[in-house]
Symmetry: C3
Subunit: 335 residues, 3 copies
Amino acid sequence: MRKLFAFGLGTGTMNARGEWLEVFFPTPVLAPEAPAAFALAKSLGYESGNKALQLHAEHRTALKAMEPAFARFGNGARPLVAVFLETDAVPATVPEAYLKLHLLSHRLVKPHGVNLTGLFKLLPNVAWTSRGAVDPAELAELQLVARLEGKPLRVHSVDKFPQMIDYVVPSGVRIADGSRVRLGAYVGSGTTVMQEGLINFNAGTAGPNMVEGRVSAGIFVGSGSDLGGGSSTMGTLSGGGEIVVSVGKNCLIGANAGCGIPLGDDCTIEAGLYLTAATKVRVVTREGEVRGVVKARELSGKSGMLFRRNSQNGAVECLPNKGAIELNLELHANN
Amino acid sequence: MRKLFAFGLGTGTMNARGEWLEVFFPTPVLAPEAPAAFALAKSLGYESGNKALQLHAEHRTALKAMEPAFARFGNGARPLVAVFLETDAVPATVPEAYLKLHLLSHRLVKPHGVNLTGLFKLLPNVAWTSRGAVDPAELAELQLVARLEGKPLRVHSVDKFPQMIDYVVPSGVRIADGSRVRLGAYVGSGTTVMQEGLINFNAGTAGPNMVEGRVSAGIFVGSGSDLGGGSSTMGTLSGGGEIVVSVGKNCLIGANAGCGIPLGDDCTIEAGLYLTAATKVRVVTREGEVRGVVKARELSGKSGMLFRRNSQNGAVECLPNKGAIELNLELHANN
Amino acid sequence: MRKLFAFGLGTGTMNARGEWLEVFFPTPVLAPEAPAAFALAKSLGYESGNKALQLHAEHRTALKAMEPAFARFGNGARPLVAVFLETDAVPATVPEAYLKLHLLSHRLVKPHGVNLTGLFKLLPNVAWTSRGAVDPAELAELQLVARLEGKPLRVHSVDKFPQMIDYVVPSGVRIADGSRVRLGAYVGSGTTVMQEGLINFNAGTAGPNMVEGRVSAGIFVGSGSDLGGGSSTMGTLSGGGEIVVSVGKNCLIGANAGCGIPLGDDCTIEAGLYLTAATKVRVVTREGEVRGVVKARELSGKSGMLFRRNSQNGAVECLPNKGAIELNLELHANN
């Protein structure tokens, strides 16, 4: 063993049956060649492949003799796990999945940069409470005892994903409501996520960005782009199509607007307009000449477009954006 | 007394004046014939009618001799209340109201299945904090003391309704932000409520459903239907009309869309289109022939409809949905 | 010194370097002539200008001899600060900024009623956690220790603004999700802010109001007006124009609608319609006669308008609202 794809030493929560509910990795590492990781591998008997190895009493003792970042793990009593990933294969265990989500939120990989196949099936549903992660099957009893003893217990959410900022707050960001950014989001430096903003896992922003709309799973937003309040980017998980939406640089998706196609740079979608891939769009020159009508998906990835709904005749139009180069479309016949 | 409409033994919070702020019922029962409930009734001197009876020291002692589910209530020091409902009458006390909200969230009754008349007037406004329920009139002093002592106090909300998942997490659900689902919501098994989803009291989903939009009070969503991100269902409480909206099976209300009429099964409202009851809709056949124009309310409850705004001429259209049977409308004259 | 513009005695949180992260003022005072404030000024050596003076051990002793509201501050060990503002100048310190935000949320001044110039630059970014305010630079270590010790730590948000209701809950309000109303919001009595509502700092409602939409920074909503679910008011901070939007009395901005111009009284924007300042609007009489077409900004501040998008031809129209006086517009030429 000379090099790993990824490595993490973490501490987490198990349910009453000893199954992992979640794992926290303070310092996930991508492509590690660190001697410390190798020392730990040796101590745990790791040789190759993708493994999530739980640490027991004897390993804690060994940890204490290692570098300070590891040694402090040796002192506690909470469950510990070391994840060694030789390759970026399909995650097979909860700790592996959590390590990959950490890689994203620590900005070590970008959305689509790590294999998350089968993630939903793998992750357990968890009640995220003021006392930490709880198996939903164990929650009712905990709630009853808390009530009878008069000790408050808040249940923040019941979900397969925790909120990112309980695991890591990357530098240079503001997130006005933590519950709106899942672990596995990539939030670029200089990004502000307002209360109405939302970033799903395996999605994110290059930074700087203002996010007051929803960045669906799988979507990446380029630097300088703003998502207005309540705006929507169409995901592929439910109700959406097969097109993977993305947003280029310096785009503006207006408040309450929506985007169902990948946008290039310097594009604007007017507030309140939902542009789906199937929307028929009238392409108009700067001088107001109609060049033709295309489905929005035909405009995928192009730059310098301004989309609006003509407020006099209701037609959805695409014009050259301010300062942008005129679109040179190879137009299909009107359809 | 042979049978009750509903029964609950609960523990809750009172303000400094001894008034109930909220009650937690771990195991509400509908139409109970349970001997245990009758034993408790006898112990409390309950004979008939709808009563919320507070339990005092002597009753706690009696509780300890009853079945385990009751006995454990006997040990604590928190306020206890037993609610006996002979009939589904207008709730007259806070514990009665809370029992009925529990019946909904425990899926023992469906939305509109229990009498909630006068609920808003009956329920006190409460500050829901990290130390439990607090009377808003007592909050400022608590906040000051907490600050001077350096003991954090979080105020989650100030509202007549608590969040459901602090009371019950029904089986088979995911709720990504607990604050968005009120106690009194009916969340069917297999329902996922995303961060942007919302379910009010006396409203809900049959399950399975994906809820990324807002289920207003009084609205029920059939199985297999999706509410896209930021979508709206029009309620009757404020700003809405008198029509009670509902959503049938296998419908899709697109992202940022809205619905102001009851929908049958297999209906779609395109992303971004807000269909109010007064929207004039052009009914179009599969072949594109315009059959006439009707107000959307005339289409209430019909199945297999696809609503969209024609992106070339701005007209709101209703077409047969994919795979659905052609609409056979008795059209009114154009209006 | 005879009179101050504002005064507050507060307790707050500092980071490891002794810099203020936030300050809580239980009883901010506008234009105080209170002898108590003057006694404290004397004790602290304050003479004139705008000053935020930290209290040290000797000042605590002096506090104990003052009136009860001050005396209780003397007993704790938490950092204390007294802010004396002789004038409403640009805030120069974090405690000054927080005092001004308190003035707004305590309803002592209305939005735009206090000088907040440079606020964003002045306020530090803070991690708002279940253990109080934390410097983001100090958070990762705190999170790791919390995890190793098995003591839960929730990070609610990372933002320059805290949520209002952790500082003050003004009388007569309901706020269904505290994270949606920032300190510095002015929430009038009788206002309900639903889960989907949002009120930014230096913005607010006269009350009574139903807020299920977003009140952007700088916007004030008159009494009796409703903001429907997911509705948007266009701010000036990002993506918006230069027009300061406001909403008069008894207006209704429908669900998922948007407003980019100041509205007078008794106006309605139909659900789902986003009216920007640049939207070309067809002005129509009660009898259906088209009077002309103007940009929406030309209608700024007028009363009795109903805006809708004609669902047959897609044109945005302005009609006289029910019961409102016919618009008497000095129309510009069609443009």
